[in-house]
Symmetry: none
Amino acid sequence: MHTTENQQVLMDAALPLLARKGFHKTKVSDIVKQAGVAQGTFYWHFKNKEAIVLHILKEGERYLLNVIYSGYRKQVGSLNDMTTSSKDLMQTLFSYAESNKDYMQLLLKTGQDSDEKIRSQIASTLQAIEQAFANNIARAQELHMLPATYSNHTLAAMLASLVFGTIDRWLFREGDSLATLNAEEMARQIVSFEFFGLRGFTSSHS
Amino acid sequence: MHTTENQQVLMDAALPLLARKGFHKTKVSDIVKQAGVAQGTFYWHFKNKEAIVLHILKEGERYLLNVIYSGYRKQVGSLNDMTTSSKDLMQTLFSYAESNKDYMQLLLKTGQDSDEKIRSQIASTLQAIEQAFANNIARAQELHMLPATYSNHTLAAMLASLVFGTIDRWLFREGDSLATLNAEEMARQIVSFEFFGLRGFTSSHS
Amino acid sequence: MHTTENQQVLMDAALPLLARKGFHKTKVSDIVKQAGVAQGTFYWHFKNKEAIVLHILKEGERYLLNVIYSGYRKQVGSLNDMTTSSKDLMQTLFSYAESNKDYMQLLLKTGQDSDEKIRSQIASTLQAIEQAFANNIARAQELHMLPATYSNHTLAAMLASLVFGTIDRWLFREGDSLATLNAEEMARQIVSFEFFGLRGFTSSHS
Amino acid sequence: MHTTENQQVLMDAALPLLARKGFHKTKVSDIVKQAGVAQGTFYWHFKNKEAIVLHILKEGERYLLNVIYSGYRKQVGSLNDMTTSSKDLMQTLFSYAESNKDYMQLLLKTGQDSDEKIRSQIASTLQAIEQAFANNIARAQELHMLPATYSNHTLAAMLASLVFGTIDRWLFREGDSLATLNAEEMARQIVSFEFFGLRGFTSSHS
DNA sequence: CATGAATGAGCTTTCATTCAT
DNA sequence: CATGAATGAAAGCTCATTCAT
């Protein structure tokens, strides 16, 4: 009991609770009970409740960005159709979301209630993902595959809205029509919508 | 002694607080202080803190759906281009959102933390809006203006993701590139994306 | 139970506890138990534990200074020997101390441990008493009954040391040789020492 | 690994903290941080927090009494004026206080809050000093230089009050009129007050 | 002797809710 | 309907002390 790394044990215990119940309804006593350590142990490893959430979020961001950008860089220099490139990015993201549901839930469903620091850490993670979209769009614009009427940032904002909202429905809305699809299908649909809008959902694209 | 209806006074006081601080961080004592009534008065009008939020949300839903469907029904039977019909719906929605920011914030940014009943009321409001999208899409499919590869509900889900996320960025993200646009421009952009995707953002559409 | 003024009830309960156990060892739970009210009631009337102590100290200062200065003013304009005037002041002070032992204990035996605000409130009360001494000495100096070699403030500081330390021994040191004297005798001794030092303790003065 | 004796290191670290913050506000973690050792090391050298304070107080008492009585004994059998003898004792005491401010602060400003054992150790140290005063007074009474109306203990009690209160003002009250004097001047003033009271502060004595 | 993570009892404080007036 | 003092369960957090290494 003394040999395990309790800091990690606590984070592992906290994430599912935070994802399901949110910040306020997750009590420190819940976390330590789940982790099997004493209440004081929590405060040895983390300054306060806010701290463990920030720690989890930062660690999660590191992993997520690593996944996104390592997948992404492989495509650099490729001459493939942009849809392929974008689909790879989306599929990476959807796969990551699927296998890290709790983290994703924390990211997408933490509301106004939690502390400013937490909200701002979440915002910065989402912003980083949006930046990956913006990068992709910028390259497509350079290659004249997408019109440059609007800045890549504006387009990325709309794309991010679409993606995050769709992930939310896909993973967390019970009974949603998206729930039955797998990550690859989700990516394909998103990219179709991304490039062609609702009209793009023809049999030839789906 | 108060000629105004205190129930309404309390709701008017509560909405901005709830929107800004969220459910848990809005204390009943904050609400009554803002409303200028005593703590006990709150509990004469509302069973508990959850009740006032539900009341606000239900009242808000009534107004919102009324606005959406009265705007929408005017278009029923029209032979206009679907993009026009859809743009009217979007513009109605964006305008409503713009003049009801607090309610919109409550709707879009209430997270996992609040009570189940509240989350489910919010979900049902959002679902109702999504249904309006679905109706529009269904008519377009009937008129063969949109492919029927996917059900109107699936397409509406993606459209709703796009719309809600975009409203969020537009109204609540400081410094976002969307923040400078007005409701009409937002509607135009959304519809463009809706029907043509990123490729639709040509100068001829913007 | 609802009709009594609980703020006073709490203060009355707190003073003896604070006097006997000091700030940290007096728990809020002790106070409310003694007062017979719920824990929350304490925090309705006082912002925190520090606040009740400050309230008690300020109220005590008001009473004490009132007693001292109303006794003192009666002597204004008197041609009596300064020793008489001084003895009246001392006797007033010792009598007050005797009938307000708890308050006096709070004043004299609150140490370095308590909060800065409390220490500074205590210091200011003691300073106010010292000022009464300084006033008396100044008048004696004007009448050339006391040498003006040192400022009245310096002399008052020494006199205050003597008086506060003596009260402490008199009231709170078990087994101290002073414990058997009454307020009038204490005042006489102090004044004797004040004006004549140890050599003044001759049979003719005592 | 540490060549210095950690027990002493801990005591040296603890004294200033205890003097400044008092018993409760000085945390064991503060002490070990200041001392540069681990928390556990503290508990190898001292049974608990109370123990280190008692140890410091006892060691301090040993030094102090040694200083007082070695100075004092030199005067034994002297035929000098009692004021000289007393002044030597006072000067010894004030000098010691001046070069051991932290210890003195612990002695004079530890209030009701700390443990019974600590308070009683402090009381016994102060009592021991008072005994030195009593001895001096007794000899003066034997030589008929001071009246025997009151017991040497009663007179010593008042003298001790004067001395301890004056030291407190001299060393620890910011802005006090005594603060500018040095130990020798303090001793002279105290002895003047001791033997002649306020009237003794003539130019011939100052 | 030394370490530092672990412990848990106990503290202050918060706040939704109740209720006598 | 309105008041606002009273309630008390429950929360976050502290810190002296223990103990395996």
